[in-house]
Amino acid sequence: MRSRPTAGGVVLGLLLANSAVAGTIVGSVTLTPADLSFRGGARSNAYVGQLSGAAGNSGSVVPSDTTYGVAYLSDVPITEAPPASVLLDQKGQRFIPRILAVVVGQAVEFRNSDNVFHNVFSYSPPKRFDLGRYPRGKSKRLIFQKPGLVQVFCDIHSDMRSDIVVVPSRRFAYVGADGRFRIEDAPEGKHTLVLWLPRRGERTASIEVAANGTTAAVLGAE
C-alpha cells in the first residue's frame, strides 16, 4: 500500500529539504491507562516506575524505554539514504526499546547482551524472520524494506516482545508518556499523519503544515 521510494523521489525529497520550506508538527494524543500499560506482564513492571520521569522525553526521535507510540507522515517520500542502523538490544530478558521506529531500508542490529541465549523471530507479514539462537555479545542485522508493524519475540522467553514500526518516511517521532510527539522538518502542505499505538494500532489524520511554522495536531482518545 505504501509506494516504494524511487530514486526520483529521493532526489525530490532532497530538493524539498534543501528548499528549507518546512515546518514542525507538534502533536498530542490522550493516552488511556490501557495505552500506558501495554507492556503488561510481570517483567514489564520495571517500566511503570519510569513513567514519571518520562515526560521530558516527549517528541524524541531517539528510541527509548519511555515511548508509547509512533507518529509519522506517511506521504513524505524518502529521498536520502537510509539512516545508520539502529540497535534493538536484548538485555535483562527484555527487548530494548520496546517500541522501535525504523525507516524503510534501515537496518536493525539485534544484539544479545544477556548471559542467556535468545532467539529472535517474527511472524509479521512485513518481515518474517527467525534469527535462531545466539549467545551474549553476538549481533545480527536485518534490513526492513517493507513498511508496517513487525512484532518481534524471543522464542525462548515468552515475555520478551518488541514492536518495530517500519515507517515509509523519515518524518516520524515517538509518543511520550504525556502523549506528545514532535515531528520536525515537515514539508509545507497537506499531509497524512499516522499515529500508531500498541493497543490501538494505526489511525490517520490529515494535517496541513505551514511553512516555517508549527502545526499542532491533536488526536482524541477515541
Binding site: 503488561g40 511472524y123 508493524l149 512484532q151 515468552s158 516482545r161
Partner: protein, 633 residues
C-alpha cells in the same frame, strides 16, 4: 432275663456331648458361609468403587496432562506470536497456512489427536488433526466459553463416533486474552486397555447409550449395559451363564456433543473363586469336626456307660445266681467306687446265701439221718407190739390187745412220717433215686384207685374211676409215682365230706409237653419229651383251695388250720400231719419231668392233675412188643 432300657444311656450321653458341638459347628458354618458371601459382595463392590475412583483419577490426570500441555503451548511465543498479529495481518490465506503449520508442529510435540486454536471470540483459526474448517464458531462450547473468560477447563468432546478427552486453555499474551487452545486425545482402545490394567476391570466407554469402546469380548453384554438407563451403584448382571458386577458412572467435566459414561465390569465368578474355595474348605473342615465330635461323644459316653452296663449285667447275673460275673471296672472315680461297693455287697450277699444253703443242707441231712434212725426203734416197737398183740408172748386180755393195736397203729404212722421226711429231704437235695422204666401207667392208676376206694368206703365217699385205654408206657419209677398218686388221692379223701364223691382218672394229654416247673428234675424224661403226655387227675368235692393258696399248699410245711373243719372230726386220715404229701408228690412228679396242676374253687372242690410227658420213642412204640413190662391185664 435282662430288661432293656428304653433309651440307652450311651445314646443319651452321646447326644448330650456331641449335640452342642454339632450345633455350634453348624451355626458357625452357616454364619461363616453367610458372612463370607456378604463379605465377598462387599469386597467386590467396594473394590469396584475403588476401581471407579482410580478410573476417574486416571481420566482426571489425562485431562490435567492435556491442560498442562495446553498451558505450556499457549505460553510459547512461537505459538501465540501469530495470534497477536494485527487483525489486518490475519486476513490472507498465508496467515492460516502459517498458523496451521505451527499448530501441527505443536500437535506433534504434544501428541494429541485434537489441537484446535480459536481467536478470542471462539472462532476457529486452525485445527490440527481433525477439525472444523477455519471460521467455525466454538463459542457455544462450555469449555471454549470458559477459556474465553480466562478459565482453563477439562471435559469431553463427542464428534460423530469419536470421543475425546479434552482440555481447553485460554491463550493469554501479556495479560491479554487472544484466543483459546483446545487439546484432545481420543478415547480409544489403548486408553481403555490402560484403564483396564489400572482398575483390573473390563472397561466400556458409553457415549449416548452406545458402547463406543470396550475391552470385553462380550459385545452383547456391553451393548446391553450401554443401553440400560444409568443406575447408581453396583449392579449384578448375568450374561451367558456367568455373573458379573457392573458399575456405571458418568465422567466428570463439561462435555460437548453428548454424554460420556464408563462401565466397569468384573466377572464375579473369578472374584469369588478363591472365597468359594475357602468356603468349601471350611465346610469340609466343619464336616470333619462334626464327625470328630460324634466320635468323641461316642467315646466319652461309652467310657461312662461301659462300667454302668457291666454293673447292670452283674446285677442281672446275680439275680440268676451267678456271683462271679466279672465287673472289669478299674477306674478310680465314682464309677470305680460304685463298682467296689457293688462287689462288697455281692460278696456279703454270696456269703449270706451260702450260709443259708449250708443251714438248709444241714437241716436236710439232719432230717434224713434222724428219720432213718427213728425207723429202727419204731420197727422194733411195731414188731413186738404185733407179736404181743397176737398173744405169742403170752395171753393177752382184750384190753391189752386193743392197746397193742393202738401202739402198732402209732408206730405205722411214725414210719410213714419218717419215710415222708426221708423223701422230702431227698427231694430237697434233688437226690430222689428214681429208677425210670417203661411202665403201663393205666394199671398203676387203677391200682391206686382201687386202694382209694377201700379208704373212701370208710367215709361213705363214692369213688369213680375213669382210665382211658392205651395210655402208653412212659418212663417212670412206678413206686414213687404210685406214692405221688396216693398222696393226692388221700388228700382228696381227707378233704372231702363224708358221702362226697371223688374221681380218679387218667387220659392222653394234648400234644405239648408240660412247660416249665421241671427245673432241677432228673432231666432224662424232660429232655426227651416229645409229643404227648399222660394226665392223671384226682377230683374231689372237698373244701377247695383259694387261688392265693395254690402255691402255698405245695410248701414243705403247711399250716393246716382247717384240719378240724373236717367233717369227720377224726384225725385218722391226717397221718402225715406235717402236710408233706403235696410237696412230696410234686417233688416226685418233677423228678419225672412232669408237673402237677391244680384247679380249685373254695367250697366246691379241687382237681389235681399230674402231667407226665411221653417220650418220643414211646409214642411210636407198638403195644404188645416183647419188652419186659409189668403189664396190667
Amino acid at each position: 432275663m435282662t430288661r432293656r432300657p428304653r433309651i440307652s444311656l450311651l445314646l443319651k450321653i452321646t447326644a448330650l456331648t456331641s449335640l452342642p458341638i454339632l450345633g455350634v459347628m453348624v451355626a458357625a458354618l452357616f454364619l461363616v458361609n453367610y458372612r463370607l458371601a456378604d463379605e465377598v459382595n462387599k469386597t467386590v463392590t467396594s473394590d469396584l468403587s475403588r476401581a471407579a475412583l482410580a478410573f476417574e483419577n486416571q481420566m482426571e490426570r489425562e485431562g490435567e496432562n492435556l491442560e498442562r500441555i495446553g498451558v505450556v503451548v499457549a505460553r510459547d511465543p512461537k505459538f501465540f506470536a501469530l495470534l497477536i498479529l494485527p487483525r489486518t495481518d490475519r486476513q490472507n490465506a498465508d496467515f492460516h497456512q502459517t498458523l496451521l503449520g505451527v499448530a501441527s508442529d505443536f500437535q506433534r510435540d504434544a501428541e494429541t489427536h485434537l489441537f484446535d486454536v480459536t481467536d478470542e471470540h471462539g472462532i476457529v483459526l486452525a485445527g490440527a488433526g481433525r477439525t472444523d474448517p477455519p471460521g467455525a464458531d466454538r463459542s457455544s462450547w462450555p469449555l471454549v466459553r470458559a477459556a474465553m473468560a480466562g478459565r482453563p477447563g477439562r471435559g469431553y468432546l463427542i464428534e460423530g463416533d469419536r470421543a475425546y478427552r479434552v482440555a481447553t486453555v485460554p491463550i493469554l499474551v501479556q495479560g491479554e486474552q487472544v484466543g483459546t487452545l483446545t487439546l484432545g486425545r481420543l478415547i480409544d482402545l489403548p486408553l481403555a486397555e490402560r484403564l483396564k490394567a489400572t482398575t483390573r476391570s473390563d472397561v466400556i466407554f458409553v457415549v449416548d447409550r452406545q458402547a463406543l469402546i470396550r475391552t470385553t469380548q462380550r459385545s452383547g453384554l456391553a451393548e446391553r449395559l450401554a443401553a440400560a438407563p444409568p443406575t447408581a451403584g453396583v449392579t449384578h448382571v448375568i450374561d451367558g451363564g456367568s455373573r458379573f458386577l457392573a458399575l456405571r458412572e458418568r465422567l466428570d467435566g463439561a462435555t460437548s456433543g453428548g454424554t460420556v459414561d464408563f462401565v466397569l465390569l468384573r466377572a464375579l465368578d473369578q472374584e469369588t473363586a478363591v472365597l468359594a474355595r475357602i468356603s468349601r474348605d471350611l465346610t469340609l473342615a466343619g464336616a470333619a469336626l462334626i464327625v470328630v465330635a460324634l466320635l468323641v461323644g461316642f467315646l466319652v459316653s461309652s467310657g461312662i456307660t461301659r462300667p454302668v452296663r457291666r454293673l447292670v449285667e452283674a446285677a442281672s447275673a446275680m439275680r440268676d445266681g451267678d456271683y462271679d460275673y466279672p465287673l472289669e471296672v478299674t477306674s478310680r472315680d465314682e464309677m470305680g467306687l460304685l463298682a467296689a461297693h457293688f462287689e462288697e455287697m455281692r460278696e456279703s450277699q454270696r456269703h449270706e446265701i451260702e450260709r443259708l444253703e449250708e443251714v438248709d443242707r444241714m437241716k436236710s441231712n439232719f432230717i434224713a439221718i434222724a428219720s432213718h434212725e427213728i425207723l429202727t426203734p419204731v420197727t422194733t416197737i411195731r414188731g413186738y407190739a404185733d407179736l404181743m398183740g397176737e398173744g405169742t408172748a403170752g395171753a393177752v386180755t382184750d384190753m391189752q390187745r386193743e392197746g397193742f393195736r393202738a401202739i402198732k397203729s402209732a408206730a405205722d404212722a411214725l414210719t410213714r412220717l419218717a419215710r415222708d421226711l426221708t423223701h422230702m429231704s431227698l427231694i430237697d437235695r434233688r437226690k430222689l433215686p428214681v429208677q425210670l422204666a417203661l411202665v403201663d401207667v393205666g394199671a398203676l392208676v387203677e391200682e391206686v384207685a382201687v386202694h382209694t376206694v377201700s379208704l373212701a368206703a370208710e367215709r361213705s365217699q363214692i369213688v369213680s374211676i375213669s382210665i382211658e385205654p392205651d395210655l402208653g408206657h412212659p418212663r417212670i419209677d412206678a413206686g414213687y409215682l404210685k406214692q405221688a398218686m396216693t398222696n393226692l388221692a388221700m388228700n382228696a379223701v381227707r378233704f372231702t365230706r363224708d358221702g362226697g364223691s371223688i374221681e380218679i382218672g387218667a387220659r392222653r394229654g394234648g400234644g405239648e409237653a408240660p412247660a416249665g416247673g421241671a427245673e432241677g428234675a432228673a432231666s432224662a424224661g424232660a429232655a426227651e419229651a416229645g409229643v404227648g403226655t399222660v394226665e392223671i387227675y384226682v377230683t374231689d368235692t372237698g373244701i377247695g383251695i383259694s387261688k392265693d393258696d395254690f402255691e402255698k399248699i405245695f410248701a414243705k410245711i403247711v399250716e393246716l388250720k382247717d384240719v378240724n373243719l373236717h367233717s369227720s372230726g377224726t384225725t385218722q386220715f391226717n397221718s402225715s400231719g406235717l402236710g408233706l404229701g403235696l410237696s412230696i408228690a410234686r417233688g416226685i412228679v418233677e423228678a419225672h419231668g412232669g408237673t402237677i396242676e391244680v384247679e380249685s374253687e373254695v367250697g366246691r372242690g379241687s382237681t389235681f392233675t399230674i402231667v407226665i410227658p411221653l417220650p418220643q420213642a414211646e409214642v411210636d412204640l407198638v403195644p404188645g412188643s416183647d419188652l419186659d413190662l409189668p403189664l396190667a391185664s
